[in-house]
Symmetry: C2
Subunit: 122 residues, 2 copies
């Protein structure tokens, strides 16, 4: 699959893979805040915090809005929810694994070869 959806997923999980960004996201889910108000809470330059917020924004986890000279950011819960949904889908795949084994018990092992045919995706 060469889908833009997968690109978005890459970006979301990448954004979540840094603890500073997770912390920023937590605060921005708790309430709107300007980038400069956010910055003093971390042991790094304002520019670094700006970049983190941008990564979160590109992933769609945060939105920015302009008020005068300040850029107000806030977390987007829907984006977090859809990320959680992706993980739930992974969990369901595992359920499939279990029920397939059950299936083999009372349905015979004929479809086992078919299972191996899960080839590729290119």
């Amino acid at each position: 699959m060469r889908t833009p959806t997968e690109d978005r997923t890459d970006a979301v999980f990448h954004a979540l893979s840094d603890r500073t960004r997770r912390d920023i996201l937590r605060r921005l889910l708790g309430g709107e805040s300007s980038v400069s108000a956010l910055a003093p809470m971390y042991e790094m330059s304002l520019t670094a915090v700006q970049k983190h917020v941008n990564v979160l924004e590109r992933a769609g986890l945060v939105t920015k809005r302009r008020r005068g000279r300040e850029a107000l950011a806030r977390g987007d819960v829907e984006a977090v929810r859809s990320a959680a949904h992706l993980l739930r889908e992974l969990e369901e795949l595992w359920r499939g694994h279990v029920s397939r084994i059950d299936g083999l018990v009372d349905a015979g092992s004929q479809e086992e070869d078919d299972h191996a045919g899960h080839r590729h995706q290119h």
Copy 2:
């Protein structure tokens, strides 16, 4: 916080941020498989697939077991669940945002300062 828990979380989301790894994880949640059986499904070298599996393993999303000459890997649903749980906690933070506004109305703002004391993380 300098917790190893956060290190693990970094690793989990990083592992999930690559579509090839997500695909491998899907298959390994669906059923156990050797690395060499996995490799032909992707347009990259066996070594590259090996590395991806290792990343998933270090994140705890996959476990490996040895049978003769082959390394059988399988997805760990519990790890996926705990990742999903982290996202659910983020969602709740947003609920907190809403209920905090409500809370100020009927409960007073005393514990609000304590909550603000979430300073920093070093």
